[in-house]
């Protein structure tokens, strides 16, 4: 993990040996224009284009994501956010473009190799392993397991200690996510929101350098949201980088250091939450797709007491992720 010293949540940065400012501090005073270069980018995409038949789902000229910061990727339904995530993590291949993680190009690399390099993602439509228990889901996330190789697997003595320490780490995470009481349940018995939590906790088992969360809050119980927000912030404090897609504007405004806005496959704006909130192109993009938007209210400081996200999930693509 880079930089465990120094980076406090509120916009301070760490200066890397090369003199670049990583963390949220590096974003201070940046010009909020699309494609602006960051002092210490961890992930850079160039000319990435993905078409499905006649539809151009993603068409990103240039974007950089700052190391050690929390970046929100927002945009109306169908903007191409999930597709962009799939491309960046090599779960899908673009027709054109290049992108790199920690300076290493990722094009043409298998998704599991991307994951091993420290770039982990979660899915909008959760992919928990239904017939494995919660704790087994968690254990699966641990990396470098000796017992995952064929011959060593046969000899328990060779992997028991490692399994033990992985289990302890998994149990700690389950407590932090308030899921420890469900440890022995099958993941298939969990509600939609609980599945989201499990998937995020499982991703953290890999100790990722960069974690990309696709709508982590969709369907999550409001009472848990706040602690989840704190958790995401603590990831930044540990020196990790977070990129997340979210429709819940409270969350976006609360925790993100930087916001990237997509519409119709393109990045139409980026900047701090306040800068983006004032951006006319963003307001138009949202109003164009959603007339009774809450965005205005939020921008003008008129935040309603109850939590009313602008858009909750993709109702047509993510069926019923309500908490039971």
């Amino acid at each position: 993990m880079p930089a465990d010293e120094g980076s406090t949540p509120e916009a301070s940065g760490t200066t890397t040996p090369k003199g670049r400012v990583s963390g949220p501090g590096g974003l201070l005073g940046l010009d909020p224009t699309v494609g602006v270069s960051k002092p210490d980018p961890i992930l850079v995409a160039d000319g990435v284009v993905r078409r499905f038949g006649g539809v151009t789902a993603v068409n990103v000229d240039h974007v950089e994501f700052q190391r050690g910061a929390i970046t929100a990727l927002i945009g109306p339904n169908g903007a191409g956010k999930t597709t962009f995530f799939n491309l960046l993590t090599c779960f899908d291949q673009p027709q054109e473009g290049d992108w790199s993680f920690n300076g290493q190009p990722l094009k043409g690399i298998a998704p599991h190799v991307v994951a091993r390099r420290g770039l982990i993602r979660t899915f909008q439509l959760t992919k928990v392993l239904t017939k494995l228990t919660v704790i087994e889901n968690m254990r699966l996330g641990a990396t470098g397991q000796r017992g995952e190789r064929f011959l060593p697997a046969l000899f328990r003595g060779g992997w028991r200690a490692q399994e033990q320490s992985n289990t302890e780490r998994a149990d700690d995470l389950l407590v932090r996510f308030k899921m420890d009481h469900m440890r022995e349940q099958f993941a298939g018995q969990l509600s939609g929101g609980q599945r989201k939590l499990l998937e995020m906790a499982r991703a953290l088992m890999t100790e990722p350098e960069l974690i990309m969360l696709d709508e982590p809050m969709a369907g999550v119980n409001p009472a848990l949201k706040q602690s989840l927000l704190e958790h995401v912030k603590s990831l930044r404090d540990e020196g990790r980088t977070v990129i997340f897609v979210e429709h819940d504007m409270d969350m976006v405004f609360d925790i993100s250091d930087w916001v990237v806005v997509m519409a119709e496959g393109r990045i139409i704006a980026e900047g701090t939450p306040e800068q983006v909130g004032r951006n006319q192109a963003v307001i138009d993009a949202y109003l164009g797709s959603h007339h009774d938007s809450e965005l205005d209210a939020i921008i003008h400081g008129d935040v309603p007491d109850h939590e009313v996200p602008i858009v909750t999930g993709d109702p047509d693509r993510a069926p019923s992720e309500e908490d039971r």
């Binding site: 993590t89 494995l132 990396t143 046969l154 328990r156 499982r202």
Partner: protein
């Protein structure tokens, strides 16, 4: 109708050599389908490779074999099964599951048709549709029961011995000792593997391979290992069959053989170590019971003329109905956990 004879024959068959063949095939399918979610519909192809590997390598040169030892024959079968798994897996394991199903079913039929063709009869000494026989002698010469059990070590001792309610020929007893030993070895191997992190990765691939990928697991690599392991188990089914019959016969490896092994697995319960063993035994017991009843009815002339010619198919009809009832009323099989089977995969 001689019910006591039917009872003796059925009991005997339940643990006999042919039951072992299905148990081994089902143990392999349990690795493929039960734990990893791979649809291998060509287990009969792996069995054929096993049977012919032993037959071609170990048959005397006089009948066109290589005349080498039985051990080498078994080793050749295992190597050939590994190669077959690679051949089927490399092009298909990257694709969606149904591609593997189509390729495996096609490859296993191609193997059978090539083995029984005149071309391979002339060029590979496979004996065409009558197969290869006369290679298993050394196996029976080493019958250890001859030393401990007082059973004469005549090569193909056909004398019948009574063991409780069971009746077996001397040669079958020896096949059973070795065959059940192999089953036990595979069961222990499966148990050790499936309680390990390696087995956890296989099960996660069965549940959702993208999830496994997103956590850095090399899904293709694990699927290939599973395909090889289960394929080798299937090959041992073919080896046991060939040695028991002293004959490798192409039409023993029709696609139906694969489906019967699947029936055994589902009856016992997939993804359970004991599933294919108990399932194979019960399945084969039912099968031989039906066969024995039909055979007796036939000799007692109890079938009307119109049915008589095809009465041999009746056991399959019966088993088909039984399998349907099983899937409706006990989809988890004998060992499975119904709650687990019915978890939805949202």
């Amino acid at each position: 109708m001689d019910w006591s004879q039917i009872a003796v024959d059925t009991f005997s068959a339940s643990l006999g050599a042919l039951a072992i063949v299905y148990v081994l095939a089902a143990q392999g399918l349990n690795i493929h389908y039960g734990y990893t979610g791979l649809f291998n519909f060509g287990q009969a192809g792996f069995m054929a490779i096993g049977a012919y590997g032993v037959a071609i390598v170990s048959a005397p040169e006089s009948v066109g074999g290589l005349g080498l030892s039985l051990w080498l024959g078994i080793a050749a079968s295992v190597v050939a099964a590994v190669l077959l798994a690679l051949l089927m897996g490399i092009p298909t394991l990257r694709l969606r599951g149904d591609y593997l199903a189509i390729v495996t079913i096609a490859v296993s039929e191609i193997i059978r048709l090539v083995l029984r063709s005149e071309w391979s009869e002339q060029h590979l000494s496979t004996g065409g549709n009558s197969g290869i026989n006369g290679f298993a002698g050394p196996f029976y010469d080493n019958n250890l029961l001859a030393r401990i059990g007082g059973i004469p070590a005549t090569r193909f001792n056909a004398t019948r011995y009574e063991v409780g309610p069971f009746q077996y020929s001397g040669r079958e007893l020896w096949v059973m000792v070795v065959g059940w030993f192999v089953v036990a070895v595979f069961a222990v191997l499966t148990m050790l593997l499936m309680r390990s992190p390696w087995g956890r990765v296989l099960r996660s691939i069965r549940e959702n391979e993208d999830a496994a990928r997103s956590l850095g697991k090399n899904v293709q690599g694990y699927k290939m290992q599973a395909l090889v392991l289960g394929g080798v188990m299937g090959a041992f089914g073919g080896i046991v069959l060939a040695i028991f019959q002293n004959l490798a016969l192409p039409d023993d490896f029709v696609t139906r053989t694969t489906f019967l092994a699947y029936a055994a697995l589902i009856l016992g319960g997939a993804a359970r170590v004991g599933g294919p063993i108990v399932g194979g035994v019960i399945w084969y017991t039912l099968f031989s019971f039906m066969n024995n009843v039909v055979a007796q009815m036939k000799s007692a002339d109890l079938f009307p003329e119109s049915v008589k010619a095809n009465a041999g198919q009746l056991p399959f009809v019966f088993l088909g109905v039984a399998l349907m009832l099983l899937v409706v009323f006990r989809p988890q099989g004998i060992f499975g956990d119904r709650k687990e089977v019915e978890l939805d995969a949202r």
